[in-house]
């Protein structure tokens, strides 16, 4: 996610593998993200209509307006954790009375928002004109956005998306689509801007094309040794959240694929002496990317894939790319994709996608990161772990993490477990 973390990873690799440092795609990512946040502040200052969104909100519809921009508090929180300022921001929220048991993203965001963006790597986010949450990826986020709704008197629109114990049904898709139309109408009313549906077609095409490149990029994990690490995907996924629907996103991922392809052809691999091909289940531990990837590499381990990133561009329960059919209504596509992230999926769907990833990528073992800050992701992992271990007969381990609050993570405890886990793979 963060540039700083990315630098650390690549420098680490340079030291260990005597390879060039930050990749060109890494440099492009830094520029893209910096420009994205600068544009956000600049356009907001110029009077753009600012919407804060949950990460799975169909932001492509915002491209249908002349001057609507969006900010993603979850992404900003992840970046703050990567830049190691999250404890400071969490503490600010805790001093306001927010329990340390509350999601660290929420605490970071609240701490930043009510301190006018101080200590933020991006000077915070511009003040919103509208908040758009949904309750499928993270229902807690609805309560989190309610804080701003109440404190700042900013309208709050919630997308009510049914949880997927089974693949999404037509009736659910229709319900979601109606709400997307309602959201469009709400933005028209609040912003006074006209909606141009043809522009949304372009934005959806861009997202779909970007996902196609994203899947190709992740596909280099199938190479032996893997052409990528999941840490690369954690870092590189950032613009999917902040720039989805844009041409820049497609261009960036096209470049990323080309560069990764070249590196593989040249025999440049992140963990050349890869002994253990691992899969990660949960949100990235943003404050640990560098350390964790480095220590794992020393042990011959490479987390080559993650449910957190392979779900992007897929339907619930699936591993493959789900393309946009240009002959169909883009809002149907957006509604159909509303459950792509792992959190709104039941056990069977999570198992289906993960078992597919394990088989396709030649995974040796799975690390389940039990994440105190994400109950939606975590509170099904114990049974998922049990099922993966027994039905696929591969070693697994569960470690305790918090995606953005390093005060709740113990590196030595985690690596004691990971060490034993790698031994169990070795014995198989």
């Amino acid at each position: 996610m963060s540039d700083h973390e990315h630098n650390n990873i690549t420098e680490n690799n340079r030291e260990k593998n005597n390879k060039p440092g930050k990749t060109e795609a890494g440099k492009r990512l830094s520029s893209l993200m910096a420009k994205s946040y600068m544009d956000l502040h600049h356009k907001a200052a110029e009077g753009a209509f600012v919407i804060w969104v949950a990460i799975v909100v169909p932001v492509e519809i915002f491209y249908g307006f002349d001057n609507v921009i969006f900010a993603v508090p979850e992404s900003h929180a992840a970046m703050s954790a990567g830049k190691r300022v999250s404890p400071l921001q969490c503490e600010k929220a805790e001093q306001m009375g927010y329990s340390p048991d509350v999601c660290s993203y929420a605490r970071i965001d609240v701490g930043t928002a009510f301190d006018e963006g101080r200590d933020s790597p991006t000077s915070g986010l511009p003040h919103p004109d509208l908040l758009v949450s949904n309750n499928n990826n993270c229902s807690l986020l609805v309560k989190w956005f309610d804080i701003y709704h109440r404190e700042w008197n900013v309208p709050h629109f919630t997308l009510d998306v049914p949880f997927c114990y089974r693949p999404q049904q037509n009736e659910e898709r229709r319900y979601i689509k109606e709400q997307i139309n309602d959201l469009i109408h709400t933005i028209e009313q609040l912003s006074g801007q006209k909606y141009h549906p043809e522009r949304v077609v372009e934005a959806v095409k861009n997202s779909s094309n970007a996902y196609a490149y994203w899947k190709k990029f992740l596909g280099y994990a199938a190479h032996y040794p893997s052409g990528i690490t999941a840490f690369d995907s954690f870092v590189q996924m950032a613009p999917i959240l902040t720039s989805r629907g844009s041409k820049e996103l497609v261009e960036h991922y096209k470049f990323l694929v080309e560069e990764t392809s070249q590196r593989v052809r040249k025999g440049i691999f992140p963990v050349p002496h890869e002994s253990y091909r691992l899969l990660w289940d949960n949100i990235a531990p943003w404050h640990q990317l560098s350390k964790m990837s480095g220590r794992l590499a020393e042990l011959g381990g490479n987390i080559i894939a993650a449910s957190y990133t392979y779900c992007l561009g897929s339907l619930e329960g699936e591993f493959d790319y789900f393309p946009y059919d240009e002959n169909t209504d883009p809002l149907d596509y957006l509604a159909r994709l509303q459950n792509f992230s792992v959190c709104p999926q039941g056990l069977e769907l999570r198992y289906q996608a993960m078992s597919e990833a394990i088989q396709r990528l030649g995974i040796d073992g799975v690390i389940f990161a039990s994440n105190r800050s994400c109950k939606a992701y975590s509170l099904m992992q114990m049974d998922l772990q049990n099922r993966i271990s027994h039905q696929l007969d591969i070693p697994t381990v569960m470690i305790d993490v918090d995606h953005a609050d390093p005060r709740k993570y113990n590196e030595e405890t985690a690596f004691t477990r990971i060490g034993a886990f790698l031994e169990s793979i070795e014995k198989k």
Binding site: M96, G97, Y98, S99, D101, V102, C103, A106, N135, C138, S139, L140, V142, K143, W144, D146, I147, H149, R150, E151, T158, L159, D160, P162, F163, Y165, E171, E172, R174, Y175, E178, Q179, N181, D182, H185, C343, G346, L347, E348, S370, R372, K375, A376, S378, L379, M380, Q381, M382, D383, N386, R387
Partner: protein, 369 residues
């Protein structure tokens, strides 16, 4: 004060045709009209001995409600006809699949019936029609499951029965407020009622109305407070509150006022009834669409009851409630209302009440001065 039997729930589940429901606000009237006895699986602390099975399926940073429900169902294998659930928080929506995995492991089999309750105002586009479809689908599923046809007359009778329960619960709360009944007895009765047939519930409430009493502490003046939480405090904590001279003049507890605080008009039409029921429900953080109503509602409630303070019975790891406290505290403080937050965990009993006692007494002193 009544003493809760630790095996209370187990005994009571000798009721027949039980449908276990979670979370808090299922369509009870519909289940009852279809010949089922709905039991809300909430607050099972007195029915679980430990968490040895739950801990194999659910991380310890889950709330006690989820852990108790899982432990109870898997350990005791209650004789339910089926389980019903609708969506609420991130923890509870994951629970059905976790429960199913645990049941499979133990060769248990129970039919599951699910419903998605729209968490947006029904005035919003699509929401009303979607809820209507959910209710009609639920009726069809229940007809298939029970082998009985839906009978509007029976539905109206069930609505009437639950209306009486809610009305009587409201009356009893007023008795507590006026010092004629202890909140501990009131709370114990309502908690126990979760595991009784509605007919028995009504009888128990009437019995409490006729025979309940409260011996107010002899010394010191009484000060009115509200209790708020997803669950009421455990009885030992309630005793501490009442013995400190704090009179509970109202509650904003999910299993209490939030459950009986609104009763739709009687009708034979379940779709109309449940649209009214969920739209106008007493605000609760688990019903996301009621968020806007909650702060003014609580302020008005405080004014009506004349409460000088509010005690939050805070369920550890309940993020829905936790995310509301700072704003509510600020809101109340601006109105000169003091708040006390008591964090309660999944531990079996409140062994050490010392810490709570000190804080409750200090809070009482603050309010009295």
């Amino acid at each position: 004060m009544k003493d809760l039997n630790p095996n209370f729930l187990l005994n009571k589940l000798e009721e027949e045709n039980v449908i276990g429901c979670f979370p808090l606000y299922p369509p009870l009237e519909l289940f009852h009209a279809m010949g089922l006895t709905p039991v809300i699986l909430w607050g099972l602390k007195d029915s679980v001995e430990n968490f040895n099975i739950s801990d194999r399926h659910l991380q310890v940073f889950s709330c006690s409600i989820a852990r108790e429900l899982l432990q109870f169902t898997l350990a005791h294998e209650p004789d339910f006809e089926c389980l019903f659930f609708y969506n609420a928080c991130d923890t509870l929506r994951n629970l059905p699949d976790i429960l199913q995995a645990g049941m499979r492991e133990r060769d248990m089999a129970l039919p599951f019936i699910r419903m998605h309750l729209p968490m947006i105002p029904l005035e919003r586009r699509g929401a009303s029609a979607y809820l209507e479809k959910q209710i009609t689908t639920l009726i069809t599923e229940l007809e298939e499951f029970t082998g009985k046809s839906f009978d509007p007359e029976k539905f109206a009778e069930s609505v009437d029965l639950y209306a009486q329960i809610r009305e009587l619960s409201d009356r009893l709360e007023k008795m507590v407020a006026s010092g004629k009944l202890s909140y501990a007895d009131f709370s114990a009765c309502l908690q126990a009622n979760y595991f009784r047939s509605p007919e028995t519930q009504l009888a128990e409430l009437k019995n409490l109305e006729d025979n309940g009493s409260f011996n107010q502490p002899a010394n010191g003046k009484q000060v009115g407070v509200l209790i708020s939480g997803i669950q009421p405090p455990p009885l030992p904590i309630i005793e501490l509150i009442e013995s400190a001279g704090l009179q509970i003049v109202g509650n904003d507890v999910a299993t209490q006022r939030r459950s009986y605080g609104y009763q739709p008009p009687n009708t034979k039409d379940p779709v109309y009834y449940f649209k009214q029921f969920y739209s106008n429900h007493f605000p609760c953080p688990t019903l996301l669409h009621t968020a806007d109503k909650r702060p003014p509602h609580l302020v008005r409630f405080l004014e009506e009851t004349g409460a000088k303070g509010i005690i939050f019975s805070a369920e550890k790891f309940c993020e829905y409630e936790y995310l509301e406290y700072p704003y509510l505290e600020k809101l109340f403080k601006e109105r000169g209302i003091n708040t006390l937050t008591l964090e309660l965990t999944a531990s079996k009993t409140v062994e050490d009440t010392g810490g709570y006692k000190t804080r409750i007494e200090a809070f009482a002193e603050l309010l009295k001065n």
